[in-house]
């Protein structure tokens, strides 16, 4: 995955961006629940939902191309699962309805993550009392995602620079050892982070 793709949030000065994260997350959840749990083929409701999302997207001032790109990235998964639904009676209708539903929900989540910082969502999870161990894990994960992605890219590059064969077996072996190395480094870094947390008075 590209480095830029790791960061869905796009900063703009818009009314949507300024809305409190709780409102946006709550709204997105409500929207997804309604759309996902509507009976199949409620086409007017789908149309209305699409209209709302397009309006919000317009207000957010994010380039339509950027939104479309993110949507295109996740759409194939939905399409793949939806294809299976073709193989039954009335398959085409189920297929069309399911795909429409999932596309609307995907669009909604893409819009949420493009206009809301993940750190704000984390604070929201704290506030609604999601177990702290889970939130801590998510926060650390989000923080070190970028560090680890950079480390992985470096290791892959270093390996590629001294690999001259192209056969699949060695590609697998080398990717696997990158992963192993990444784990070793992650656990070493975890030790140092623990020291840094204690150094600033962390109480367990």
């Amino acid at each position: 995955m590209h480095r830029a793709l790791l960061e869905p949030y796009q900063h703009r000065r818009s009314a949507i961006h300024r809305l409190p994260a709780g409102l946006k997350a709550g709204g997105a959840l409500a929207f997804v629940l309604v759309i996902a749990l509507l009976p199949r083929a409620s086409w007017t409701a789908y149309g209305a939902g699409a209209g709302v999302l397009l309006l919000l997207a317009g207000l957010s001032r994010i380039r339509p191309r950027a939104l479309a790109l993110r949507l295109l990235l996740v759409e194939p998964f939905a399409l793949g699962v939806a294809l299976l639904s073709l193989l039954q009676q009335d398959g085409l209708r189920i297929f069309a309805a399911t795909l429409t539903k999932s596309t609307l929900c995907l669009f909604c989540m893409v819009l949420l993550s493009s206009t809301t910082r993940f750190s704000a969502l984390l604070r929201l999870l704290w506030r609604i009392r999601v177990p702290s161990l889970l939130v801590t894990t998510l926060a650390l994960m989000h923080r070190y995602l970028f560090v680890l992605a950079d480390e992985t890219a470096c290791m892959v590059r270093a390996r590629r620079s001294r690999t001259f064969t192209q056969d699949r077996a060695s590609a697998w072996r080398s990717s696997a050892s990158v992963i192993a190395q990444l784990f070793v480094r992650s656990s070493e870094r975890a030790e140092r982070i623990y020291a840094a947390m204690c150094a600033r008075g962390w109480k367990t």
Binding site: L87, L145, V184
Partner: protein, 331 residues
Amino acid sequence: MHIPDGFLDAKTAVITSALATAGLGVALAGVRRTLPPRRIPLIGLAAAFVFAAQMLNFPVAGGTSGHLVGAVLAAVLLGPGAAVLVMSAVLILQCLMFADGGVTALGANVFDMALVAPAVGYGVYRLLRRLVGEGLRGRLFATAFAAWCSTVAAAISCAGLLALSGTVPLRVALPAMGGIHMLIGLGEALITTLVVAAVARARPELLLERTGPRLRPRYGELAAQGLLVALGLALFVAPFASSWPDGLEQVAATLGFEHRAAATPALAAPLSGYVIPRVGSAALSTVIAGVAGTLVAFGLAWLLASLLTTPRSRGARPGGKGEAPRAPRAA
């Protein structure tokens, strides 16, 4: 395998969310009780690690590539409770940040990939470790087969959920998802085993099993998780058992549908064709194909473990091994 929004109906979404919450709660409580504070950052780092590892591509054929899922890898490296937590965190982040996997399907995805996958995987792993002993070969063999089983189990669970929602009929979902993932599982097993072997070579102390008094409460958690998994699976087996003949009758009654239904899984079947001809019942042939696939995977896992542990005298390829350098910065 991430189910998007819109594929599950209300009852399935609610049931799986409840199961996922309960399972994650058990895992959280267990981890909080048994994990020494100094390993708490490791859980977060491990989640980032699994996410980063999933981004690495493994070339398969014809320009396509696969990637690691990591449930068994996490379970073998960190223990089952931590693996549940790590995989859940990965799925939650993917859902919230990247719209990868639906919000209403988050419970289902956590159930499949963060509960069923590590629980089945770790169960198989422990069982095999007890049977084949403590050596590296036994560990790698158990890892390989556990990774395969966990992938297939998660796929079967996913198929069951889709069928329970009435989105995809089980007679299509089960062979298609099961068949494809019996193949994908081979890749998962290979990657997981290669990684565990490389970690064992570079830093064997990271793999030391924590034994002693802490083991006892873990069995209780494992049992609770196993119960949840069984409960969930039972929910899908029930319609499976009752609707299968109906499905068949329907096939016979309607459009000569079986050609299409059989054509899809055959694309991906690990055997020459998933549906073995000349066996009367489709259900029976699916079971036979499943058993045969499992035996093949078992054999391949053993072969892989043997290959990776026989001392290599010829051609120690530079750059091909995990010569992870120790980097003690605080020295």
